[in-house]
């Protein structure tokens, strides 16, 4: 297994002479990624900036990001895993069947050229987006691309990083890890944290109808979930905190308007490379912050009979 071999974005800015984007369209989804962090920057060890870097884009279709790339490799939809596997074999010098590669929409020579470039660079990075991690193969694709980057370190310096989307989703991972030990989908109903993606992930819980109340903040699942999941949200008491009245608010029993993160409410957000940044709110909102409302709900819950899991075993605190 590979694990995860990564860096903060400044390392890419200062050192990366080979930058590969896979299944992402930064030109439209992360517009300043190129200009602030990666290809366009002059780095400490890349004084010539863009000229000193090679940019490769792998995607299933031509997006706005193609213009920024030196090389564009168009993969047939659903064939990313096969391409990564072929690359891992080529990196190790193993023989790869031409016909198998051609099923992916690419040619063996293209992949061999890519591997040669990867091995020649001084510092390589792969950014992968939802086009890789949310399509056929899903987390298997992410694991494969992370392993490819880890294995490249036998030849040269190489790292990989997911292109995290929504604002502070990286922060949610961080906070959940230090408080519960797991990054997402944590079930606390037995009194201690349990983790089993696929069982305790929201989409699975909602589609199976396994919950009897929902508290939603910083998201609008009523607009994005599959219909059976939305039906569950409408059936159980749902509570929404959001700066706007959202799709989810409309099917919820309770909606509370909150101030906008970073514009009116202060605090911290994590960048996709897990660097924490302070927020500098500028407008005084007529609404309370999410943090304040959650605190008030906690205070209201505290006034009721406390739920204590298995009180008879609580003496040592250790199960």
């Amino acid at each position: 297994m590979g694990g995860k071999v990564s860096c903060t974005l400044g390392e890419v800015k200062n050192r990366a002479d080979f930058i590969l984007y896979w299944g992402g369209n930064p030109a439209e989804c992360h517009p300043r990624h190129f200009t602030k962090y990666t290809i366009m920057q002059k780095g400490k060890f890349l004084p010539e900036g863009r000229k000193g870097r090679t940019m490769v884009l792998v995607d299933i279709r031509e997006t706005m990001s193609v213009k920024a790339a030196d090389i564009f490799l168009q993969v047939r939809p659903g064939k990313d895993f096969e391409v990564i596997t072929a690359l891992r074999a080529l990196v190790k010098g193993n023989r790869v069947d031409t016909a198998l590669v051609e099923e992916t929409g690419l040619k063996l020579e293209q992949l061999q050229d890519l591997v040669d470039r990867m091995k020649r660079c001084k510092f390589g990075v792969i950014f992968f987006g939802m086009g890789l991690s949310m399509t056929r193969g899903k987390h298997m694709n992410s694991a494969a691309v992370l392993t490819l980057a880890a294995e490249m370190n036998a030849f040269t310096k190489f790292v990989a990083m997911p292109m995290r989307g929504h604002g502070n989703v990286a922060g949610a991972d961080m906070v959940l890890r230090w408080t519960t030990g797991y990054p997402f989908g944590v079930n606390l109903c037995r009194g201690f944290p349990r983790f089993n993606p696929g069982e305790f992930s929201t989409v699975d819980l909602l589609v199976r109808g396994d919950i009897d109340a929902a508290f939603v903040l910083g998201a609008d699942p009523g607009a994005t979930m599959p219909q059976p999941g939305i039906d569950t949200l409408a059936r159980v008491p749902t509570i929404v905190l959001d700066p706007k009245v959202t799709h989810t608010s409309r099917l919820a029993r309770v909606h509370i308007t909150t101030s906008v993160t970073g514009i009116s409410s202060p605090g911290t957000a994590y960048r996709m490379d897990e660097v924490p940044l302070p927020l500098r709110p500028v407008l005084k909102s007529p609404y309370p912050s999410d943090e304040e409302v959650v605190r008030r709900i906690i205070a209201a819950v505290d006034k009721k009979t406390a739920w204590l899991p298995r009180p008879e075993t609580m003496s040592s605190g250790v199960a």
């Binding site: 297994m1 590979g2 694990g3 995860k4 071999v5 990564s6 860096c7 903060t8 974005l9 400044g10 390392e11 800015k13 200062n14 050192r15 602030k36 962090y37 400490k44 060890f45 001084k122 510092f123 880890a150 370190n153 036998a154 040269t156 310096k157 790292v159 991972d173 961080m174 890890r177 230090w178 408080t179 519960t180 030990g181 797991y182 990054p183 606390l188 009194g191 201690f192 944290p193 983790f195 911290t268 994590y270 897990e274 660097v275 924490p276 940044l277 302070p278 406390a306 204590l308 899991p309 298995r310 075993t313 609580m314 003496s315 040592s316 605190g317 250790v318 199960a319």
Partner: protein, 564 residues
């Protein structure tokens, strides 16, 4: 108000060795006398100053990365269920923050030093420390591969480098600094390492690991930081690295230094097949050089997670073990590597590592200069310290364990020849009084009047492991935090920081360089004071003539606490 009566008190900083005497507490401090309040009858019990862990990894980006990388460990770890006063959590190799506080306090430890903090993510470390209840905290800033500092040393700008270090410590709100594989982690940014103390680091003409080590030690002393430079030497974990360690120590003559997890730096041989213990050679040098302190970094057999800023070493370990590998290089500052690891008694290398940790603890003859650590979670988890204490107190049990090792290990280690057995007084030194003194925390590690009332009370038991694993009472800041295994008070501890002075003009130099090399705004880089929960500022009042090492005579030290 609280009185502890009838217990045998072990307070080495004040020369008290098992005398029965009362300890009185008011307003969180040890006082001469109290009237009224609760009395704890400690008859048949022993009374220690609360434990001080000088080197551990419990909070921040690296540890949180390890949590994400090893859900399989969390699944089988001890679970902390929610109670009226305590939060949920998970123990194991990389405990959650709340569990970390409960586990340390539950073992009688009341002060904890997080040893590795990047400036770039120091906000994150402080956030996690805020959620680490009961214990007091401090942290060390990673400085041995900081390119702002290295670039200044390259052009001979020592004074500017010193002001930069002071500014960075103040910005990150840490207590001291730590150098990890100096130069090697910077070289790792292009896939290299720094194995020779006197060879220039990749990308530099003048700066070599030795330059960084010598200059940082001098800077720390000149800034008057209470704790000396905390040093993780080059070539950690590698056969034959004792020569690097000795060369490094020679560079440090004339300055203070704390040698972190010395066990990992005390090997002979030249490959994995003939690796052997060099604890005797290393201890001999160390014993003769009172400018140095160290912590053991002992290894116990079982599962561990290796977490270190030493990126190149972790890549090697990944290649050796074929297990998962986490790596996070931090721009211009440091790196971080994570590889899960299992120490096995049947493995020759691991057998040598296990022996070396204990040998150093037994061969370094001044307990005020070597402290109990496992470099948690690298050598073993901190909650296994009682197992090590037990081995230190019993030569026969050590010999029995040695007999269980592979025959080939016996000629490579010294452990079976060592007769020394630690006394309770010495255990109190290596777990509390010694590390507190090495940290320059005058209010910690002793029970004299004016000390913070952090106290562990144990039922006396010939089985040291049982005794130290389950304290009868733990008192933190004058409140009973643990009583008969139950968490009673979860009051948050303090965090100690230093704010060494610097020439403010250094910002004019740093800002443009920073904007070129970093990806964050200079103005958003420093940690805001309000982010450090329970912050107490410690004085930077070290002067070079102060000597370290054993106390002079048995005169009680009743220095008032610093830092308010």
């Amino acid at each position: 108000m609280l009185r502890i009566t009838g217990g045998k008190v072990y307070d080495p900083a004040n020369g008290i060795n098992g005398e029965v005497r009362d300890i009185c507490i008011a307003d969180g401090k040890v006082v001469a006398n109290v009237e009224g309040g609760r009395t704890i009858d400690a008859n048949g019990m022993i009374v220690f100053p609360g434990g001080v862990d000088i080197h551990t990894h419990v909070a921040g980006a690296a540890l949180n990365f390890a949590r994400a990388l090893t859900p399989e460990n969390q699944r089988v770890a001890a679970k902390f269920m929610r109670t009226k006063d305590t939060r949920m959590g998970i123990g194991g190799q990389t405990p959650t923050t709340f569990a970390t506080g409960y586990l340390y306090a539950g073992m009688g430890y009341t002060t904890v030093v997080e040893a590795a903090v990047p400036i770039l993510s120091a906000k994150h470390t402080h956030e996690e420390l805020r959620d680490t209840p009961i214990v007091d905290k401090a942290c060390c800033l990673l400085m041995g591969n900081n390119e702002l500092v290295m670039d200044l040393l390259e052009v001979g700008e020592y004074e500017k480098a010193k002001h930069t270090v002071a500014w960075l410590i103040s910005a990150a709100k840490t207590y001291g600094i730590k150098a990890v594989n100096p130069g090697g982690v910077a070289a790792w940014k292009f896939g290299k390492d720094a194995k020779q103390i006197h060879s220039p680091i990749d990308g530099y003409n003048k700066v070599n690991p030795g330059t960084i080590i010598a200059n940082l030690a001098k800077i720390v002393d000149e800034l008057g930081l209470p704790h000396p430079m905390h040093l993780h030497c080059n070539n950690l974990g590698v056969p034959g690295n004792v020569s690097t360690t000795l060369e490094t120590m020679k560079l440090l003559e004339g300055n203070r230094a704390h040698m972190a997890h010395l066990q990992f730096h005390a090997y002979g041989g030249d490959d994995w097949h003939n690796m052997r213990s060099e604890s005797v050679q290393l201890a001999e040098y160390f014993n003769a050089h009172p400018n140095l302190t160290c912590d053991a970094g002992a290894v116990l057999f079982g599962n561990a997670v290796t977490i270190t800023a030493d990126g190149p070493w972790q890549h090697l370990l990944y290649q050796l073990t074929g297990r998962k590998w986490g790596n996070l290089d931090v721009e211009n500052e440091t790196g971080c590597g994570i590889v899960p690891y299992t120490y096995k008694g049947s493995n020759l290398v691991n057998a040598v590592q296990w022996a070396v940790g204990l040998e150093l603890l037994l061969l370094i003859n001044d307990p005020w200069r070597i402290f109990l650590t496992t470099d948690h979670p690298n050598g073993a988890c901190f909650w296994r310290y009682p197992e090590i204490i037990h081995l230190l107190m019993h030569a026969d049990i050590r010999r029995e364990r040695v007999r269980a090792l592979p025959d080939a290990a016996l000629s490579r280690i010294y452990l079976a020849d060592l007769d020394r057995e630690y006394t309770l007084y010495e255990i109190a030194i290596i777990t509390s009084a010694g590390p507190a003194r090495a940290l320059g925390m005058k209010q910690k590690g002793h029970l004299g009047v004016g000390a913070d009332a952090d106290i562990a009370i144990y039922n006396q038991n010939p089985d040291g492991e049982l005794m130290f694993r389950y304290p009868r009472y733990v008192i933190k800041g004058g409140e009973v935090a643990v009583e008969e295994g139950e968490i009673r008070s979860v009051k948050d501890g303090h965090e100690f920081v230093c704010q060494p002075s610097y020439d403010e003009k250094i910002e004019d130099y740093l800002k443009p360089v920073f904007q070129q090399q970093y990806t964050m705004s200079f103005e958003n880089y420093p940690v805001e004071a309000e982010r450090v929960h329970g912050m107490q500022i410690a004085e930077c009042s070290y002067h070079k003539e102060t000597r370290t090492g054993a106390p002079e005579g048995d005169s009680p030290r009743t220095t008032p606490p610093s830092g308010g």
